[in-house]
Amino acid sequence: MGITVNDKEYEFVKNETVSDLLQRLQFRFPLIIVRINGEFIPRKSYAETVVPKNATISVIHMISGG
């Protein structure tokens, strides 16, 4: 069992924080919103929040550009 990010399956990594996950997926856009199993994760908590097994995660990138 892994985790789901934006409806796509990814491998579960033990003790992986939100910051680590964003780095792994190369999500480096600054305007993003993270929810784990529907719960909003504040930006300041990314470094401490551990991603649980089987989590459903949405990483919403806000529109920018041009």
């Binding site: 480096r28 600054p30 550009g65």
Partner: protein, 774 residues
């Protein structure tokens, strides 16, 4: 003064100083026509009149703006569309006598309380597309035009020789003057005219003058942009912002307009005479604080402007590289924003209109020009913005100095960086394949990464070189495709599908292969592939928020309408979503930035006194959006076939591209097309490309079906009379023209959906002529 900044008096750009013989330049001017007007007061954001100048006859007159015009067209781009509709014909082309060049403002244009409020909107029938092109631009001209007395400037006809149009808001006169001796290229011409027309020899007076110009590159190409000046009181130079897309500068020079000058007597924070200045101040203060406190944690616009997008696009495989073949590249870090940050002047604030705390207009002062007629001189380069950096990666130029050189010459020659960069990248790919070569390119070695050849091409275009390639290349990708096919120099599929243009306009700088919605964001547009209608790549490709055709169609309805609204009001889009409130993430629709939408509702009401809500803002846009599409139909385009896009924007055209992302494409053949993995492995790369090609072409047609239906158009993309009436339009000429076109389409079998629907899939409607039931 903010900590870290230095006093105005102490800053030196280090630029090469010029001494102009102003008396000599002025003595050569001959006044050809003059009109005096009564200086008015702007009321509730409107000057309530527009200015008409006919260069053929010398006629200069004022036109009233009616309440009906304000209601139906709001202002800005809307006014421009109305004025064009009243003045051109279905047969009008870019260089027709009756074609107009229009510069408009908008009711919120010129407020100083809210960032990004100094935009002008420019419209004309484009040389690239033969339909209406609109382009927005910063700088002082738009606000000054309004405060000099006019909501819009309408230029028709052609002068016999080069002229300057002078709108003098101090004396209340408009004149057409011959101007034979001034420079043509914008960085020098703007400086000369700013000094000539400033009332006094002081920086304060020079700041009250703004110049519109286009250089020699605009004369000899279809890529002409218009440069709008804003005198930088700290750098003591007129800086330039560009109305880039669609060849507006080409039309300006075709009319033999060397420049348009506007000057104002005075401006202040309430020159618009808003009905509720307190609300303006309150809403403005709120966002200024937001930008001050949050920008450094978000997009860092105040430090590097939109250039910050280079590293982001590279990370997401969206940075166009070698003519959009790839979306990332190992050398890309060399042109990330920190590399430009090193070059930007950091000690003084930037901004292209007063009160803009976002201040994204970055400059490199004292840049030493490496090539061409200004080689060795030191100049101020405005930018580069992200799009120009993206042109660098597209041409495989990985040295920031070559990108600055390209940026400087494009600007002063009056050439749109986006169209030129995208087109040259295409020529470079054709060069790689041997379809073009040194001989066919009039001696240029136009291979990827050759910055010297890129600049030489620009210099030769600007000089009016008569070489067959130079002449054709300067007209853009569409004409080069036709030329290459006529010469029989290569495989038509390769020539056609690699060239990133649609409707004749070159793409801006994003790779769209993996985002169907963004393919629509470029293709299902009014003027052509420019990202200012919708930027949906993250929402679609990364967030997976709009998985169905209906979802994508809804996004391709809402966002183009919302973004159109900025153009109706003289506003910049950036303060809407390139900065976000701290709690935006917790709102219901964070992608729309609800708090900022409410800001705009409040601003509109505070300036105009007209009570609106967020839905009415969309209605305002929808009226203009449909009017523009209908005008395109009238001009003979604006149908499904005109919304065609090249396959390079949908998927891999060549085995090299397929091979560079082989796992991704092979997986899609299995997951999306239902092929077995073993089947895919047995297929050649060419066969895999063909399968993917068929699938993705059909996806695009289904998307077009859904979008046309959502927008209230026929399956051939025609706005219906029913839709136009529901928006409040009663113009009989417009309504009967649309009905006639729909009837013709019916006879020709074009009122049908074009996607292939299998199994449970259904087109947007089963009802024939569904719009008649609305």
């Amino acid at each position: 003064m903010v900590e870290g900044q230095i006093p105005i008096q102490e800053y030196q750009t280090g630029n090469t100083k010029h001494t102009w013989n102003i008396e000599k330049l002025l003595s050569a001017h001959k006044k050809l026509s003059e009109h005096s007007y009564t200086k008015g007061i702007v009321e509730k954001g409107y000057a309530n009149r527009t200015l008409y100048v006919n260069l053929t006859t010398g006629e200069i007159k004022e036109k009233n703006v009616s309440e009906d015009m304000k209601h139906l067209f709001t202002g800005g781009r809307g006014f421009g569309l109305k004025l064009l509709w009243d003045s051109i014909k279905p047969t009008t082309r870019w260089n027709s006598e009756e074609n107009e060049l229009i510069i408009t403002t908008g009711p919120l244009c010129g407020i100083t309380q809210y960032p990004g409020s100094g935009k002008s909107l420019c419209l004309t029938v484009s040389p690239s597309t033969n339909i209406i092109c609109d382009s927005n631009v910063g700088g002082f001209f738009g606000p000054y035009l309004k405060f000099a007395g006019f909501d819009a400037l309408e230029i028709q006809g052609k002068a016999k020789k080069d002229v300057v149009i002078v709108i003098d808001g101090e004396t209340g006169t408009v004149s057409i003057e011959s101007a034979p001796l001034e420079e043509t290229n914008s960085h020098l011409l703007s400086e000369q005219l700013t000094h000539i027309y400033a009332s006094e020899d002081s920086d304060v007076s020079r700041q009250k003058v703004s110049i519109v110009s286009a250089g020699t590159g605009a004369e000899h190409s279809y890529w002409g942009c218009m440069n709008f000046s804003f005198y930088d009181i700290r750098r003591k130079v007129p800086r330039l912002k560009q109305a880039g897309r669609g060849g507006l500068g080409t039309v300006l020079r075709d009319k033999h307009v060397k420049a348009i000058v506007v000057k104002v007597e005075t401006i202040d924070g309430v020159s618009n005479h808003p009905v509720d200045p307190d609300t303006l101040a309150m809403v403005g203060t709120k966002i200024h604080r937001e930008i001050r406190d949050l920008d450094r944690f978000q997009c860092n616009m105040r430090s590097v402007g939109t250039a910050h997008l280079a590293e982001i696009m590279d990370a997401y495989d969206l940075l166009p590289t070698e003519n959009y073949r790839f979306g990332s590249f190992p050398k890309a870090p060399r042109i990330y924003s920190p590399e430009f940050y090193k070059l930007f002047t950091k000690i003084i604030p930037d901004g292209c209109w007063h009160g803009c705390t976002m201040a994204c207009a970055k400059t490199v002062d004292g840049y030493t020009v490496m090539t061409g007629p200004y080689k060795g001189q030191k100049v101020t380069v405005d930018g580069p913005e992200y799009e120009t950096v993206g042109c660098g990666s597209n041409m495989s130029l990985w040295d920031p100095l070559w990108i600055l050189e390209f940026n400087f010459y494009c600007d002063t020659y009056g050439i749109d960086t986006i169209s030129a960069g995208t087109a040259i990248a295409y020529y470079m790919e054709m060069y790689e394949y041997g379809i073009l070569n040194k001989e066919r390119c009039d001696g240029l070695e136009l291979c990827f990464g050759n910055g010297e050849a890129v600049l030489e091409l620009l210099h030769r275009i600007a000089k009016g070189d008569t070489g067959e390639f130079i002449q054709t290349a300067a007209k853009g990708i569409r004409r080069v495709k036709d030329w290459l096919k006529k010469k029989n120099w290569g495989e038509p599929y390769l020539i056609e599908e690699c060239g990133m243009e649609s409707k004749g306009l070159e793409y801006s700088e994003y790779v769209t292969k993996e985002s169907l919605a963004m393919q629509g964001g470029y293709g299902l547009t009014l003027k052509g592939p420019q990202h200012d209608e919708a930027w949906l790549i993250f929402m679609d490709m990364v967030n997976n928020q709009i998985p169905t055709f209906q979802d994508k169609a809804e996004a391709l309805h809402y966002f183009p309408m919302w973004r159109t609204w900025f153009g109706l009001n003289g506003l910049c889009k950036l303060p809407w979503n390139d900065i976000e409130p701290e709690n935006n993430a917790e709102t219901d629709e964070p992608a729309k930035v609800p708090e900022h939408v409410q800001n705009y509702v409040d601003l509109f009401t505070a300036v105009t006194g007209v009570k609106v809500d967020k839905n009415e803002l969309i209605n305002q846009s929808e009226r203009c959006y449909n009017w523009q599409r209908a005008t395109n139909v009238w001009l003979g385009r604006g149908t499904r076939k005109d919304d065609w896009i090249p396959y390079r924007s949908m998927g891999p055209v060549t085995p090299l591209e397929y091979g560079s992302r082989m796992q991704r494409y092979d997986d899609q053949l299995v997951e999306k097309l239902g092929l077995k993995k073993e089947e895919v492995e047995k297929m050649s790369i060419e066969e895999r490309i063909k399968e993917l090609y068929r699938y993705r072409q059909d996806q695009y047609q289904k998307l077009a079906d859904a979008v046309y239906y959502r927008r209230g158009w026929t399956p051939n993309g025609i706005p219906t009379p029913q839709k136009m009436k529901s928006l409040g339009f009663t113009d009989k000429k417009m309504l009967s023209m649309l009905q006639k076109k729909i009837d013709e389409d019916e006879k020709n079998g074009l009122n049908k959906w074009c996607g292939t629907y299998r199994g449970k899939e259904k087109p947007p409607s089963d009802i024939p002529r569904y719009w008649e039931k609305w």
